[in-house]
């Protein structure tokens, strides 16, 4: 007779539902594991995607319908001639050509009290107002404006439309005058309209105003100069990339080399380096969450199956074939996997919504576009379902291998010989991880992923060491549990040896959780240490004096004469273009921010943090002061594969000029692609006069606030300057760094919750499995509190073993994470372990685990003795 493995279709489903109903608590625990695992993956993906989409949207919305943008090739020039717009007239395919000019300004009444807030997003949010001069008749064909109140501007009038956000933040009202600072003094513009915070009004984080082009040119003395021309083309051209390319080339050829003709997309900022590293950190955490979540799910499911060995034996005895048993278990797994994953998606969306505001604060940018990425959704769903299935499949196949008689007798299975030699495989995996991370050279684009694989192999390898070490660790821990929990502690501690698989998986969950905390703590600490050093050297002095317009260098001498001022050093910030000779894979139109300084006075106040192994500070400064030399930020050096002594070619007013790389410096300026040169070189090669800011240091014993007041009294109105306290800036920057790691802390807490859940799960399983034994102990005279102490001490032993493994693996992970920051983020961080994270690890190992053990302990104490001993 042929035995059919087929079932009536609904039978497995019915049995699965009955099983889940009968074991409600276990079903809930398994489901929680799946929900948390799926939720973390989705929430992180959602946070990352929303950040990127929001960044892109700011540029896309601001660019509007524009298909091609023309700008002057030299960004530091005074702009394009006004008649450039007429040269577009006879070009077929150009539907609209909208001219614009822009200028940075500041509210006159706020001038001097400005506050800068810096974000990882690459650009600071500031009170600085970007004024866009546009053609009132044409611009609405190019950019999108939604007028909430008032009306559109009229040409040549002194009128302005502001974003609703700017109006609210600055307590402005429709019909008021907007008083702004311009190079020729204070000007007034009538507020005629309020714009919705969308479309063109999202530019410059919403701190933007739109005025007629001619008005802007008048008040900022720009003559007829333009900064950009946005071209809109007919739909048929938009649909054909070839035709659009042809038109773009045609315009470029017609205008010549003095102009830059680009697609708006190419103006999009590259994702800033700090944000990039940050997002990779989140992705790394997401991978770890999958790992812990998978362990948790496997642990629960395998125990469920083990517990049902007798039931499986009975089913086998009455004629159920192996395939049918596997079918039932898999049906249960699929049902739970799908249900848990769907709930996980819902929870993940909520969690993501909670994480996004934190990310928004970290970046100092509004994240308006909360998107649920399809790939993240599918990944989280499939991880939830597949891991549940695999977790169920392995133990169910194992269960069917037991003969029905063995299963019915519930004979404890002899320990497999393989179990004793797992540590050998563990060594193999750790070696594989080492090779993957340190020895095998992978292309840079996949280094991050090979790194993640390496870390996962390391975790797996360490996990395989656990079974053989539990006994030894338990004997070390036992005196401690006996000391705190008396004889019950001794009993509880010994219990961890009873379910090797369950103990291994729980210890592994704790190990990963604690290792992540230690790894993350060390990374944060190393970063902060480097950052603090940088901030001390880069933000030296007591005051930063700046203005939206260029300042004259002579102001430096005037500032030096203010009583109490000890040193003054000027700084000029400008964009420079890298020449084709130095362009590698970085691509065309790569711009750098050149910060020009005066080496002699700069060193009196500030210094640089040179990366290690470049010679002494004196040698480096001597080389730099010799001229035609630059300091490159680590990010710039990495992007263009440059090191100390190499040449970098920049496009200057006098043609392409090579500059020597005097040193590579650590630099955490959000914009990333920074170089430092001498003010003399900037004046010589780039024809710059003026400076952007001054840094002032006061005499020892002098109150900086008094000096600040005096400087403001003398020069605030006359020179339109804003005086920032560097101390305030430092505090803000440090709090940003603190906040940015706050998100990681949030994720760490989720990791702790998952690990604690693992402990609750395991102890609860143990309690459920040992009902009869607990009943026996109670009948022999063990009080409820003794039973509870026994279960808690079992948890503590698990926690301490997990803690020991976690700390060991955590130290290795910390090294790997700091290395990853250096390789992927182009930093030069030195590993500094965080004592705080070790304390946290210990707290989790001892206290969180005890808290987690409370519920199972309570349940064990409440075991009904009669029911329990009836279990026979």
């Amino acid at each position: 007779m042929k035995i059919s493995g087929k079932f009536p279709l609904l039978l497995p489903l019915r049995l699965a539902f009955r099983n889940m109903q009968a074991r409600k608590l276990r079903t809930l625990l398994t489901c929680t594991g799946i929900v948390l695992g799926v939720a973390v993956i989705l929430a992180i993906s959602m946070t990352n995607q929303s950040t990127i989409v929001s960044l892109e949207n700011v540029f896309n919305e601001a660019a509007g319908k524009s298909n091609i943008v023309i700008s002057p090739y030299d960004e530091n020039s005074s702009g394009m001639d006004g008649d450039t717009i007429y040269r577009m007239d006879n070009i077929p395919g150009v539907l609209y050509a909208a001219p614009s000019a822009s200028a940075a300004s500041e509210l006159a009444e706020r001038s001097g009290t400005g506050k800068v807030s810096i974000g990882l997003g690459g650009r600071s949010k500031s009170d600085a107002l970007l004024l866009m001069g546009i053609d009132p008749k044409l611009d609405r064909e190019v950019r999108s404006y939604t007028i909430l109140q008032g009306r559109w501007m009229e040409a040549e009038r002194y009128e302005v439309l502001l974003s609703e956000q700017f109006m609210t933040e600055n307590e402005l009202k429709l019909g008021n005058d907007l008083t702004i600072v311009t190079p020729s003094g204070v000007e007034r513009l009538k507020i005629t309209g309020v714009l919705a915070n969308s479309g063109a009004a999202v530019a410059n984080s919403g701190n933007v105003g739109f005025i007629p082009l001619q008005t802007l040119q008048d008040i900022f003395a720009r003559g007829d100069k333009l900064d950009a021309i946005d071209i809109v083309v007919p739909n048929e051209l938009v649909e054909s990339q070839d035709k659009l390319d042809m038109l773009k080339n045609q315009i470029q050829n017609k205008l010549g080399k003095e102009y830059l003709v680009q697609y708006p997309a190419s103006r999009s900022q590259v994702v800033p380096q700090m944000l990039f590293v940050y997002q990779q950190g989140l992705t790394f955490f997401s991978a770890m969450a999958i790992f812990i979540g998978a362990f948790l799910i496997y642990n629960t499911f395998s125990t469920t199956i083990l517990e049902r060995t007798r039931e499986i034996g009975m089913l086998r005895a009455i004629g159920m074939v192996k395939k049918q048993i596997v079918n039932i278990v898999l049906t249960e797994a699929i049902t739970l996997g799908v249900f848990g994953s769907l709930l996980g998606v819902a929870f993940g969306i909520l969690l993501g919504r909670g994480l996004i505001p934190i990310m928004s604060n970290v970046m100092a940018k509004d994240i308006r576009n909360i998107t649920i990425p399809m790939d993240g959704l599918l990944l989280s769903l499939s991880v939830g379902i597949i891991v549940t299935l695999v977790s169920a499949l392995i133990p169910s196949i194992q269960a069917t291998r037991i003969s029905p008689i063995e299963a019915l007798r519930s004979v404890p299975k002899a320990e497999s010989k393989l179990w004793r030699y797992l540590w050998l495989i563990g060594i193999g995996l750790v070696v594989a991880a080492w090779l993957l991370i340190y020895r095998i050279p992978f292309p840079r684009s996949i280094t991050f992923w090979t790194g993640i694989c390496g870390v996962l192999l390391l975790f797996l390898g360490a996990t395989l060491f656990i079974p053989q070490s539990v006994g030894r660790f338990e004997r070390i821990v036992r005196p401690l549990t006996t000391f705190f929990y008396r004889n019950e502690g001794k009993l509880g501690s010994r219990n961890v040896e009873r379910s090797p698989i369950r103990t291994t998986l729980t210890v592994a969950c704790l190990m990963v959780g604690i290792a992540l905390i230690i790894g993350m703590g060390a990374t944060t600490n190393s970063f902060k240490n480097d950052f603090d050093k940088w901030i001390l050297s880069a933000l030296g002095g007591d005051m930063l004096i700046s203005s939206p317009i260029r300042l004259r260098e002579q102001l430096g001498y005037q500032l030096a004469s203010v009583p109490g001022v000890k040193y003054v050093t000027p700084r000029l910030t400008m964009d420079v273009r890298i020449a084709p000779q130095s362009i590698g894979e970085a691509g065309m139109n790569d711009k750098l921010q050149l910060n020009a300084i005066d080496p002699a006075t700069y060193r009196q106040i500030n210094d640089f943090q040179f990366i290690r192994g470049q010679g002494t500070s004196e040698q480096i400064w001597r080389d730099f002061s010799g001229g035609n030399a630059l300091f490159l930020s680590t990010v710039t050096a990495d992007r263009h594969h440059l090191k100390q002594g190499d040449q970098i070619y920049l496009e200057t007013k006098l043609g392409v000029q090579p500059f020597r790389v005097a040193a590579v410096v650590s630099d955490f300026t959000p914009k990333g692609f920074i170089v430092y040169g001498s003010l003399k070189d900037a004046q010589h090669w780039f024809g710059e006069s003026g400076v952007s800011s001054f840094i002032v240091a006061v005499e020892t014993g002098t109150n900086p606030a008094e000096v600040k007041s005096e400087i403001e009294r003398r020069y605030k109105k006359a020179k339109n300057i804003t005086v920032f306290s560097t101390q305030e800036l430092k505090t803000q920057v440090l709090s940003l760094v603190q906040e940015s790691f706050g998100l990681m802390d949030t994720l760490n807490y989720i990791g702790i919750i998952i690990s604690a859940l693992g402990v609750i799960n395991t102890l609860l399983m143990n309690v459920l499995e040992r009902q009869r034994e607990i009943g026996g102990l109670r009948s022999m005279g063990m009080t409820k509190s003794q039973i509870a102490r026994m279960v808690i001490s079992e948890g503590v032993t698990l926690g301490l073993i997990g803690g020991a493994f976690g700390i060991g693996v955590g130290v290795v992970l910390a090294r790997l994470m700091v290395r990853a920051m250096n390789v992927l983020g182009s930093y030069d961080l030195e590993l500094i372990l965080s004592m705080q994270s070790f304390i946290w690890g210990a707290v989790i190992a001892v206290f969180v685990v005890q808290m987690a053990a409370l519920y199972p302990a309570g349940r064990a104490a409440r075991v009904n003795i009669i029911e329990a001993i009836k279990h026979e």
């Binding site: 004889n487 001794k490 010994r494 009869r772 022999m780 005279g781 063990m782 409820k784 001993i869 026979e872």
Partner: protein, 195 residues
């Protein structure tokens, strides 16, 4: 109920002059620990403990230092014939040997009453007889009362007093004559109850 594990809906249980009704859960537990010993059908030994540790478990639970109880534990193990196997874990012992450990454990705190629930139910007849002989001998040596629940007439024949229950009610009671005829007599009574 006799073991203080369950409370009667009516009536009163008095053990060693103490009414169980008036005792809190903790006090009841301590009474159980010190005055009552338990023997289960499935032995209920802790798999992580060795034979001597299992025997010493009630004293351990009572907070006593096992090193100071060494003589007593060894004596109990010798008495049940497992002096040589004191370091073995339950998984290294046969069913009969495990039940012997359980018997030794039941007497660890020198209880006044030992409650045995089908102590031979899971054993072959040879091991069963050995356990019953052991219980009788221990009871005589240590002076405890053994209350045993069983379906086995042969096991029942070891008792001095027999109480027959049917559907939760006492239906018959008799003193034992202490002879082998007793098994037949018990079987006859059981048959008459079935009829």
């Amino acid at each position: 109920m006799l073991g203080g594990l369950d409370a009667p809906t009516s009536g009163e249980i008095i053990i060693a002059g103490q009414s169980l009704k008036q005792l809190s859960d903790d006090k009841l537990t301590i009474l159980r620990r010190r005055k009552i010993g338990f023997i289960f059908q499935f032995y209920n030994l802790l798999p992580t403990l060795s034979a001597d540790e299992n025997v010493g478990l009630p004293q351990w639970i009572d907070g006593k230092d096992l090193t100071k109880q060494r003589n007593k534990i060894d004596g109990l193990l010798e008495m049940v014939g497992l002096g040589e196997r004191r370091d073995h874990r339950p998984s290294q012992l046969s069913g009969g040997q495990q039940q012997r450990v359980a018997v030794a454990r039941a007497f660890a705190n020198t209880p006044e009453i030992v409650l045995a629930d089908e102590p031979t139910g899971n054993l072959d007849s040879k091991s069963g007889t050995a356990i019953l002989d052991l219980l009788q001998k221990t009871c005589a040596e240590l002076g405890a009362t053994i209350v045993m629940v069983t379906h086995d007439p042969r096991a029942a024949s070891y008792a001095a007093r027999l109480i027959f229950l049917k559907d939760g009610e006492i239906v018959h009671e008799q003193k034992n004559f202490g002879s082998s005829h007793c098994v037949q007599s018990i079987m006859d009574i059981l048959a008459s109850l079935e009829a």
